[in-house]
Subunit: 299 residues, 2 copies
């Protein structure tokens, strides 16, 4: 079995498909990685690319994607509600097979160094790669966004881990780090009332913090202007403990209590077979259902 | 992409693991097939082995499994409620990849001929391989079971398609044929009242026949003596139209209406990834969830 890493960089462009496609082509062309998915989020003017490959391929392709984003995206003209500090905003590196977390951390340091040395971007390491404890949390690193960091400068607390001590004039800075697999899973409501989505997100966080349910689930209520609907947007960071079915039924129940309904749910990027099977088992408790019972796995 | 066939022979032994294991070893040792699963059903004194492989490997292993069953199982001392006519009772052949149904039918004829020529077993072809129209239906072929056929003889309507015109003295006869993929899916109730399971099975069949829901679902209510519970046992023969989630929720709703609950569900053998994803979509309507989003498919 070969080593496999997943990389899911987020780019600050979600409205011009031709730009995102050029970035995807750069990633695809730089090595033998496999592009699982890429999606544009028009509302937040961001995009996420999901790819898999051997560590050395991930290193080459993550760099190529970052380089393309630095070339093609100017943060000074970028608008979008989502917090971001860079053209290539964050580069998560996820160990999938035959890789330990320390292996993934080491790989993230190589990617960060390539970027700092060759693209003149300040680099911050987050999550498992955090060198400074308070940078484990992505929100803390991105605080104030590009505009805030530009105003206050990169000295003191904002001194980057690698690279120049000032923002790149058009591409800002980048956050790089290793983390475990998460599922980006959203539930869309049949209402334009974003307050309902926000209230449900609060309930998810409260349930999580009280240790009742929703372990490891990060949730936000957002308004999707492009579709005129409210969304509960989640990251499931402990997918073995909380499945997409658990999140779906939680949101559905709370939506019903608020007098609205669920339109559909949505997966961003990819997920592991194991986590899909765990969702089915949460819904139906199926004896005998395991990865080895999925015929496709044997072909 | 290579041709892949699934074979799921049913054997008339479900209580002596050592016998079933010898049969599985014969199947495994005869070619390069992959054994996905085998399970013993103590209540019905039957077992099902699921394996995948190239057509020529399936041919060799299906024959080896049948030969082992003829050696090891004596139907004259076999007891079990399930209808059966042979030690190796039925051999379904399922085209999975790069195989048409006619390819699978041709393979089933080769398997049937090997068995008739070398094991002295009468062979009946069913489903897509049926040579006589009325034999498409397995229940029609097995009518009366081993004991009934022994009594009335194999002349006239019971004349086999291949092989001798009399039952093998210990191994009976065998039914062979090609069919589409089906999911063997059971729902166990928290009651010992088999009538409730039978009533639910009737409702499934009525709903199916009325074209309301449960398209392609065959259902029976059975009592599992070994566990003291009632079970709704189904075969989902149109898994693109009716998912395991649809069957589960139908049974759950009817069980609740009858004042009982669902203990768990159960998958026998394997299922295709596509059908798993369709079940998740039936439950949660997930935008973007498709086979290509399952990361394991890329490794």
């Amino acid at each position: 079995m070969a080593k496999i890493v997943q990389c899911v960089p987020n780019f600050s462009e979600g409205r011009r498909p031709e730009i995102v496609e050029q970035i995807v082509q750069a990633i695809d062309g730089a090595s033998d990685v496999r592009i699982v998915d890429y999606s544009l989020d028009e509302d937040h003017n961001r995009s996420v690319v999901t790819f898999l490959g051997a560590p050395e391929d991930i290193r080459a392709s993550a760099f190529a994607g970052a380089a393309a984003a630095v070339d093609l995206i100017d943060l000074n003209t970028h608008k979008g509600g989502h917090p971001r500090i860079g053209a290539v905003d964050v580069i998560p590196v996820v160990p999938i097979r035959e890789m330990t977390m320390p292996d993934a951390v080491a790989l993230s340091y190589e990617i960060g160094k390539d970027i700092a040395d060759n693209l003149c971007l300040p680099v911050y390491f987050y999550e498992k790669s955090a060198v400074m404890v308070h940078r484990a949390d992505l929100a803390a690193v991105r605080k104030g966004g590009y505009e805030g960091m530009k105003k206050r400068g990169l000295s003191g607390d904002s001194e980057p881990d690698l690279g120049p001590s000032e923002l790149h004039p058009t591409a800002g800075a980048v956050v790089v780090g290793a983390r475990g697999p998460l599922i980006a899973f959203n539930v869309n409501l049949n209402t334009d009332d974003v307050k309902i989505a926000r209230d449900i997100a609060v309930k998810i966080r409260k349930s999580r913090d009280a240790g009742e349910a929703m372990a490891g689930v990060k949730a936000l209520g957002v308004y999707l202007k492009s579709r005129g609907i409210a969304q509960v947007s989640t990251n499931i960071t402990q997918p073995h403990q909380t499945t997409i079915y658990d999140v779906y039924t939680f949101v559905e129940r709370e939506a019903r209590a608020a007098g609205v309904g669920v339109l559909e749910s949505e997966l961003i990027g990819g997920m592991l077979e194991d986590h899909l099977i765990e969702a089915v088992n949460a819904a139906m408790n199926v004896r005998g259902l395991s990865e080895k019972r999925i015929l496709d796995r044997w072909m």
